[in-house]
Subunit: 151 residues, 2 copies
DNA sequence: AGTATTTCGGATATATATATCCTATTTATG
DNA sequence: CATAAATAGGATATATATATCCGAAATACT
């Protein structure tokens, strides 16, 4: 019928993940970056991206410095400790781990939706992956040219 | 930041899956069902559900019979052959298998996004599950009381 | 044939996510 | 202290998904 596609993450979250990776890369070099630079690099709308950055700041995933020579950065030594799950959680919440695949309000072991068990496996895989993927490895794969932030 | 949650499927698709299961159950008893009955049973908006049913008809997943004593049904002997993947494909398209986790336009092995490989595993799991789950087993789990269509 | 019943499908309305704009606030520097 | 450069955040606009409405078409029965 429809337009829709796979929405593991919202657009906001996609931008948030890519932005955080780009900030990490620059923080290794002690460089702060602006929403303008970020959105150019990750191919996202600037103002919208700026909103998401604010949110990541509120969740203490990235740091912002106001005023001249300011910008966004991440403490070098926390980059290896930040997991993808934290970023996703900050922006899209934790329903990714809890929500029912068929939208039931209270879907659980005792009262499962038709696909509950089958989804559990997929969801647990996703959860494990998000919790075990570090920002550091994502950033290093970009700098090494093994992966890309846009196109 | 936001309102969002895990969107494996669109609402339309959630309704479509649940509706199809309910139609299957009734078709075993040779009973046709209306959008009204369906939406009551799966707790969905009637008119919107009706649209989705039309779409499933166009994709030959369910059959409709117009006029008095009409309604929706599924050929008994096709119920075991219909896979969850077909329903999802009809409503949400095939981007679920193709779309990039970070929204890149052309994300592939040669030009991967930062999470490409990690997502591949999750996605393949989901794909396998959808392609190997039959409408029959979903329907039987409802009739046996092992799973539920609402609440 | 007429009527009640039912799906079909276009038009429209509502809700939510995405995106933009503009001003206030903060801060480094001359 | 003034100025320029930056983030913060409220208000608003746009796009998309979700939901509703209503008349047209089809069909079984009387």
């Amino acid at each position: 019928m429809y337009y829709n596609y796979w929405f593991v993450f919202s657009k906001a979250c996609e931008y948030g993940i890519k932005a955080t990776i780009f900030i990490a890369i620059n923080s290794y070099d002690g460089r702060r970056v602006s929403p303008k630079e970020i959105s150019k690099e990750i191919d996202s709308p600037t103002a919208f991206t700026a909103k998401i950055l604010q949110d990541l700041v509120r969740h203490h995933i990235i740091k912002s410095v106001k005023g001249a020579y300011g910008g966004f950065e991440i403490d070098k030594d926390t980059i290896s400790k930040i997991k993808l799950a934290q970023i996703v959680n900050a922006i899209d919440g934790d329903q990714i781990y809890k929500g029912c695949g068929l939208g039931l309000q209270s879907c659980n072991e005792a009262h499962p939706c038709p696909v509950h068990d089958k989804f559990k496996l997929v969801r647990d895989d996703l959860k494990f992956m998000l919790e075990h993927t570090s920002l550091e490895e994502l950033a290093l794969n970009i700098t090494s040219g093994a992966s890309f932030l846009k196109i």
